[in-house]
């Protein structure tokens, strides 16, 4: 290939890309909502769940001819930015949504690794942000502009510790977590604290870590096997859980492996298979056996996308409805973005007893809801079955 041809081809490609991206930009509508989600990267299924739920919500709004605020119907547009499951991309995506797209409110990011830094950007720029999945306390801490819809890890950690104590009567725990990611690291610490409160110091007999993108956990698991632990708690994402469970079993581990809400992805069973069957994890809602509005949402999502929505899908649905309510509570859209953002923030802070499909929500001072967790067991059919509910 000579250099000129190469140059021409690259040039044409770039021009084409400009044209395509130019077409995608429509005229500025009245209400723009930003979604900051991991569509690529380590946990794409999480981003997909949020995206699908947000789009379903938009369909409803469009079918009604726009969002009714104080008697006027405003067209709504959703701008979805990919944060590649990276902290730095999440802050970049938030900056773009706030300054370039001039969004009224941001939904996302999902995992705490992105939500903690991105929340800082939203707060500094005085733009309301609601994370549908981040459970680490730092996301909303001292940030009046940042809210969330899931429960928090200081609550989830003890829930799991108490569940294992009551269910199995174990007293020696092993923890395996990703030290480079906010969510697993935070939750591992909360779990360790809660476990030691019940069983005394040194009852966490192995506290092992790895870093994001590691695939080999054999050294850590060998240590855990040696430590005399009665179960492993691993607050990891679905792709890592698959590797951890398989390698543990190959090392002759046959005791329970317990997880947290990051396990609850439709993708988990595709990757993990038999190694995950029978295990327990804590989460936000149990899809199998749901009723009422929750079931309605699940059926609709399932029909459209061909799988049962993850907890992140359900939480995003709740998030969309909460911001809808906050915008409507505002009463008017002035068109001045700073005023409207402040109005939506205040309305969010006022929300009381919101009846979502993942439970009733009232925001605390910090912008966190107080709600129940459920423990699910993975059935032999690979379904996440309701086992018990734990409320604060």
């Amino acid at each position: 290939m000579n250099k000129r041809t190469l140059l021409i081809i690259t040039g044409l490609f770039l021009i084409g890309a400009f044209i395509v991206s130019g077409c995608a930009q429509a005229a500025q509508p009245a209400i723009v909502i930003g979604v900051n989600a991991p569509l690529t990267g380590d946990i794409p299924k999480v981003g997909e769940g949020s995206k699908f739920s947000a789009e379903m919500w938009l369909e409803d709004i469009n079918a009604a001819g726009g969002l009714d605020v104080g008697g006027t119907k405003y067209p709504v547009e959703i701008v979805i930015e990919d944060n590649e499951s990276k902290a730095e991309s999440a802050t970049k995506a938030n900056t773009k949504l706030i300054t370039q797209d001039e969004v009224l409110v941001i939904v996302g990011p999902q995992s705490s690794k992105q939500a903690v830094p991105a929340g800082g950007v939203a707060n500094d720029n005085e733009t309301p942000m609601v994370s549908p999945w981040s459970t680490n306390p730092n996301t909303t801490l001292d940030r009046p502009w940042v809210f969330r819809t899931p429960f928090l890890d200081p609550f989830q950690g003890p829930v799991i510790a108490n569940f294992v104590t009551d269910e199995f009567g174990f007293s020696k725990a092993a923890v395996l977590y990703d030290v480079a990611s906010d969510y697993p690291k935070g939750l591992a610490e909360f779990f360790k604290g809660a476990w030691e409160d019940v069983h005394g110091a040194d009852s966490v007999v192995a506290y092992e870590s790895f870093t994001t993108k590691d695939a080999d956990f054999s050294a850590q698991l060998t240590k855990i096997r040696e430590s005399g632990a009665e179960f492993i708690f691993t607050p990891q994402y679905y792709n890592e859980v698959a590797l951890i469970a398989q390698q543990a079993h190959e090392l002759g581990w046959d005791a329970p492996i317990v997880g947290s809400d990051s396990w609850g992805s439709a993708e988990l069973m595709n990757l993990c298979g038999d190694d995950c069957k029978g295990q327990f994890f804590s989460t936000h809602y149990a899809a199998a056996g749901a009723t009422g509005a929750t079931k309605e949402f699940i059926d609709r999502y399932n029909e459209k996308h061909g799988y049962v929505p993850d907890d992140v899908g359900a939480l995003t649905w709740d998030t969309m409805l909460i911001i809808q309510k906050a915008i409507q509570d505002c009463g008017t859209i002035t068109g001045d973005i700073a005023t409207d953002r402040a109005c939506v923030r205040d309305a969010l802070a006022q929300i009381k007893d919101f009846d979502g499909i993942t439970g009733k929500m009232t925001f605390t001072e910090e912008g966190d809801p107080i709600k129940c967790a459920v423990i699910v067991q993975i059935s032999d059919a690979g379904e996440f079955e309701f086992y018990q509910q734990v409320c604060p």
């Binding site: 993108k213 080999d216 054999s218 002759g252």
Partner: protein
């Protein structure tokens, strides 16, 4: 640590080291022959794993369709061979498009080209296949043996044996065949040897083909051990294998193999003896110290203008 734990970790290290060694060989060969750091190599490993996934899926579909009974190990062997062949062509293409036009350019430009090709391969994969993680089919039934408290699976044994066989085959090829001799000659001096009638372009292509083939085999073995495939799986692993290649000594095939296993041992045993949070910190500090004392790597020779393999 108990004896069982110690032995178990040796088994763990052998498996991890096999992957590092196989990938490090590709880096080392290309560097030896063309004086080029092929930073796209980690991503070629990823491409090899995906090609393996497609070949395996295709064979499984064909078997299901025609009701021919093929044992799992045979499907695996066919998958490895086909994927090695196909990935060789990927390697040749990368060399042809990315490196050949830059053969006389400054080495830094060629290294940067490698990084860019790597990014193109990752994002290309992302666009074609989407961000979803794929699961590699378990072609052989896993059986776990308990020997003196040590858990060994048939997969682990197979991975180590196949890796060693491939390294042996490469060694024989480079030492015993005419093409291997031409490679060694080119490594000796790539400016003069082509004047003696050794076709440099073909040798470069061959080097890339061999390296990529080994990376593909590593990709498939890796996917059997850790069956979650993602477009970014080659980045960190590629870097670590690159460390092994340098540790082994520039262009040394034996060095790359030994250093690959050594890296596996260091990583596993550091995690076993120290808090695992400090694993990479301690493991790579050890390697830094080794390099300070042996700047040319374990089997590398001091740089002269002529000697490069």
């Amino acid at each position: 640590m108990s004896l069982e734990g110690f032995l178990q970790n040796i088994v763990n290290s052998l498996q991890l080291g096999s992957f590092y060694a196989l990938i490090a060989l590709g880096y080392s060969m290309v560097y030896g022959v063309l004086l080029l750091f092929n930073f796209a190599h980690g991503d070629i490993f990823m491409v090899g794993a995906y090609i393996g996934l497609f070949v395996a899926t295709a064979i499984l579909a064909l078997v299901a369709l025609t009701s021919i009974v093929l044992p799992g190990w045979l499907i695996l062997v066919l998958t490895i061979l086909a994927a090695m062949l196909l990935t060789s062509f990927v390697g040749i293409t990368v060399e042809r498009i990315g490196y050949r036009p830059l053969r006389n350019a400054p080495r830094a430009s060629a290294a940067i080209t490698g990084l860019m090709i790597g990014i193109i391969l990752e994002t290309g994969n992302l666009i074609i296949l989407g961000a979803e993680n794929y699961s590699f089919p378990a072609l052989i039934e896993t059986s776990t043996y308990q020997i003196a408290g040590v858990s060994i699976t048939n997969k682990k044994i197979m991975i180590v044996v196949v890796a060693l066989l491939l390294m042996l085959a490469l060694h024989q090829f480079v030492q015993r065949t005419k093409w291997g001799m031409a490679m060694r000659a080119t490594a000796y001096d790539f400016a003069v040897v082509p004047l003696m009638g050794v076709p440099l372009n073909q040798i470069a292509a061959l080097t890339f083909a061999l390296g990529s083939g080994l990376a593909a085999s590593a990709g498939i073995l890796f996917s059997l051990a850790y069956p979650v495939l993602s477009p970014y799986m080659g980045i960190t692993f590629g870097w670590k294998a690159f460390v092994a290649a340098i540790l082994g000594g520039r262009g040394s095939i034996l060095g790359a193999a030994v250093a690959g296993f050594m890296l596996g041992f260091i990583e596993i045993f550091v995690a076993a003896f120290f808090p695992s949070t400090l694993r990479d910190l301690i493991a790579y500090s050890i390697i830094l110290v080794i390099l300070v004392f042996r700047p040319h790597g374990l089997f590398g020779e001091a740089y002269t203008a002529q000697l490069r393999l």
